[in-house]
Symmetry: C2
Subunit: 405 residues, 2 copies
C-alpha cells in the first residue's frame, strides 16, 4: 500500500479537489481537495462552494484507504477550536398518518414545540418538565434537531412510491439554488424552511425520494442557515425474514445508496449519517469516525422484534467503539399500523453513557440531550483506541474465492 491514490484510480476517480475544512466561516471560493465522480464514498462539507462539474452538485467525494491516520485527538482538538463546545440535541419522535400533508404539518408543529420547550435539566433556562415559553434568544438553546426515518409516510413498501418526492438537487447546493423548489418537494422544503427559520441543524430523518426512476430512503441534512449539507441514501436495505419474528424486504421497492455520508456542520463539526439498518454495520460508523466525525446520527425504525434486542445495544456499542456520540430517532408506534416501530429514540456519549433527559418508549414526544463535545477528545485521550487500532490491512485475511485465482 505504498500509493495512497491507488484505490482512487481504481474507482475511476479523475478529479481531485481540496475538501473544505470545518470552520465557523464560509467561503464562496472553491477549495481544492477530494471531489470525485462515480465514487463509492463521499463526504459532505458545510461549505457549498465546491465544484459543480458532476451531476451531484457540490458532492464532496473521495475514495482511499481505510487508515487510522485521521482518527486522532489532534484532528478533533484542532477542529473544535473553531467550533462550539457543546450542543443541545432534540430527537423528535413523530407518529405518522397516511396523509403526507398532515405529517408535514405535524412535523413542523412538533419541531416548533421542541424548540420552545427544551426540558433538559442542564439548561439554565429549564425549569423541570414544564414546557417553557422562551424569548427568541433563549429558544436557541436547541442546536440540533433529528427527525425519524420515513417521517412523512407510514412505514411500508406500499407507501414509499406514492409518498416519494422528486428531489433533483443533491448535496452541497447553495441556499439560493434551493429556493423555489417547494412545489415538487414539500417535505424537503418544510425541513429546509424550519432549519433556516429556527437556526437549527436539522437531520431530516428520512423520506422516500425518487431519482432517475428509482426510489431511495433518503436523509437530508440542513445546516442552521438552511443550506443542504448532506444527502444520504440508505445504504443497507432492511431485508429480513426472521421465523416467528418479522418479514420485510425493503429492497422490493427501494434502491440502496452507495456511499457513507458525513454532514460537516459549521458550528459542531462532522457527524456521520446512517439510516436504521446502516447501524448494523460497524464498518459504517468506523468509516465516519476515521474521517473525524464526533457523532453518528441514525434515524431508524427498528421494530418490536429486533428493537428490544438490538436497538440500544448497537447504538451504544457504536458509541463506545468509536468514542463518539450516537443519536437515534425512531417513529412513534402507531396503533393498527402494519409496521410497529420500537420507539426509544436515544443519545449515547463516547463512553457509552446514556444522555437522554427521559425515555419516550414508543410514544410521540421529544428527547433532549446535551452533548459536551470535549467528551470526545477526553475519551479518545484517556483510551487512545485511535492510536491502538492497527492499520486496516492488519485485519484482512485470505478470501476463500482467491484459492481459485
Amino acid at each position: 500500500m505504498t500509493c495512497p491514490f491507488a484505490s482512487l484510480f481504481r474507482l475511476g476517480i479523475t478529479t481531485i479537489h481540496r475538501t473544505p475544512l470545518a470552520s465557523g466561516t464560509r467561503s464562496n471560493e472553491p477549495k481544492r481537495l477530494f471531489v470525485a465522480k462515480n465514487t463509492k464514498a463521499r463526504t459532505s462539507a458545510s461549505s457549498s462552494s465546491s465544484s459543480n462539474e458532476n451531476t451531484h452538485n457540490g458532492t464532496m467525494s473521495a475514495k482511499s484507504r481505510f487508515t487510522s491516520s485521521s482518527f486522532t485527538d489532534e484532528t478533533i482538538t484542532t477542529e473544535n477550536t473553531t467550533k462550539k463546545k457543546s450542543a443541545r440535541i432534540a430527537l423528535v419522535q413523530l407518529a405518522s398518518t397516511s396523509s403526507k400533508e398532515e405529517n408535514i404539518e405535524n412535523m413542523l408543529a412538533r419541531v416548533e414545540e421542541a424548540l420552545s420547550s427544551s426540558s433538559s435539566s442542564s439548561s439554565s433556562s429549564s425549569s423541570g418538565d414544564k414546557p417553557l415559553k422562551l424569548a427568541e434568544e433563549e429558544k436557541k438553546i436547541v442546536d440540533i434537531v433529528v427527525l425519524p426515518e420515513m417521517w412523512n409516510c407510514p412505514y411500508g413498501n406500499e407507501f414509499f412510491a406514492p409518498f416519494a418526492e422528486d428531489v433533483v438537487l443533491d448535496r452541497g447546493s447553495s441556499v439560493a439554488e434551493e429556493e423555489g423548489r417547494g412545489s415538487t418537494s414539500p417535505s424537503f422544503d418544510a425541513m429546509r424552511k424550519i432549519a433556516k427559520e429556527k437556526k437549527v441543524v436539522l437531520f431530516g430523518g428520512s423520506i422516500p425520494t425518487r431519482k432517475d426512476g428509482k426510489l431511495f430512503n433518503t436523509c437530508f441534512v440542513f445546516d442552521s442557515d438552511g443550506a443542504l449539507i448532506a444527502t444520504h441514501h440508505k445504504m443497507h436495505l432492511f431485508d429480513v425474514d426472521i421465523p416467528d419474528g418479522i418479514t420485510f424486504f425493503e429492497s422490493k421497492t427501494l434502491t440502496a445508496g452507495d456511499a457513507v455520508t458525513i454532514a460537516n456542520t459549521k458550528d459542531f463539526g462532522k457527524f456521520g449519517v446512517g439510516i436504521c439498518f446502516d447501524m448494523r454495520f460497524p464498518e459504517y460508523a468506523r468509516a465516519c469516525a476515521l474521517e473525524g466525525c464526533i457523532g453518528m446520527i441514525y434515524p431508524g425504525a427498528f421494530n418490536t422484534v429486533t428493537g428490544p434486542l438490538h436497538w440500544a445495544l448497537l447504538q451504544r456499542c457504536r458509541a463506545v467503539d468509536n468514542q463518539m456520540f450516537v443519536a437515534t430517532c425512531s417513529p412513534a408506534r402507531v396503533e393498527g399500523a402494519s409496521y410497529q416501530a420500537h420507539g426509544d429514540s436515544s443519545v449515547y456519549g463516547p463512553f457509552g453513557e446514556k444522555l437522554n433527559d427521559k425515555e419516550l418508549e414508543e410514544k410521540p414526544g421529544v428527547v433532549y440531550a446535551d452533548l459536551d463535545l470535549n467528551e470526545v477528545v477526553k475519551r479518545r485521550s484517556a483510551m487512545p483506541l485511535n492510536k491502538q487500532r492497527r492499520l486496516s490491512e492488519t485485519y484482512e485475511l485470505c478470501a476463500k474465492k482467491e484459492e481459485n485465482v
Copy 2:
C-alpha cells in the same frame, strides 16, 4: 482492486501454499494455498501439515482483501457438514496467586472439576447445581474449555517478565513435536496435557511468553488431541489512562502481536481468538467472521471501571454484528490484588442472547453454555448481513494525510 494478490505482494509474501480446509480428517501431506512469511494476518488450521520453512512452524498466514466473499451461509453450512452440530463450552474463571506452581495446579484441578460437574440444565446428565460424578463417557459432555487471560500469574506489569515462559514453537506444530518441552514451559505443557487427556478443545486463556527477547501476552489453543492449533499474541495492548478511573500501560512491558488469529478445530469449525483489549476493535471480530468463524473466544481481564460499562456490551455487540457466538473468560477478582478484574465470564449467541447457565460475577467458578452451531446458519439466513454488507472499499473515505500527497 482487480488483482487479488496485489496486497500479498505489497507485504512481501513470497510463498503461497494451500490452506487446509476444515474437516474431520487430517492429512500429513502439505496442501497448497496461502502460507506466507512476514504477513500481518494469519489463520491456524487443525491440520499440522503445513510448511515448516519459516520461524513460525506451520504458520498458516495470508494477506488479502477484506471482502465479504467468505462470509456466506454456504460456507457455514458446508463446513458444518463434517462437524458436530453442538458444543458445550465451559469457562473456567480462575483466581490466581503469586505462585506459578499453585496457579498451574489450581488450573488443572478446576478444569478437571469443570469436566466432571457440568451443570448446564440442558444436559441429560445434569441434575441442577449439584456437582456430578460422571462415568468417563459422560464426562465428555464438555467439548470446549476456556481459561482466563494471564491465568498463571497476577495481572500486572511487574509479574509478566518473571512469569513468562519461553515457547519456541508456534502454531501448527504436531503433537510429537511438542513432546518433551515440559521443562521450559510448564503452563504450556499443563494445558496441552489436559486437553489431550480429557479430549477437549482448550482455549488456554493467556500467559506471558518470551520470544526473541520480547514479552507477549499469548493464547495457545489446543485441539482435543492435544495438537496446538493456534497461538495468538495479544494484538491491541491495554494502554489506558482514565481520569479518576484506571491507569495501566501494558505496552511498558509487552510487545503487541501482529495478526488476527483463527483456531480451526476439527470438530466444531473455526473460532477467532482475541485477548481482552482486542475485543474493543470491531474490525478484529469482523475479520474472523469473514473468514468463516462461527465464534469468537476472548480471554480478558476487564477491570472494575470499564467492566461494568463495556464488558458485556462489547461481547454482545460483536455477536450480533457478526451473527456468531462470543465467549469471554475473565480471572476471578482477588482481594488485595493491585488489579481488580471484573469477572462475569459469559457466552452470547448469534442473535445476542445470553447463553450462560449462571452468573459468576467476580467469584471463581465455571460457567457452562450449550452452543447450537446451527444457530449461526439460522441467524445469517434470517437476516443476511453477510450478503448486505458492502465491499470494504465502500466504507473507505479519504484520509486527511493524503491531502499532502
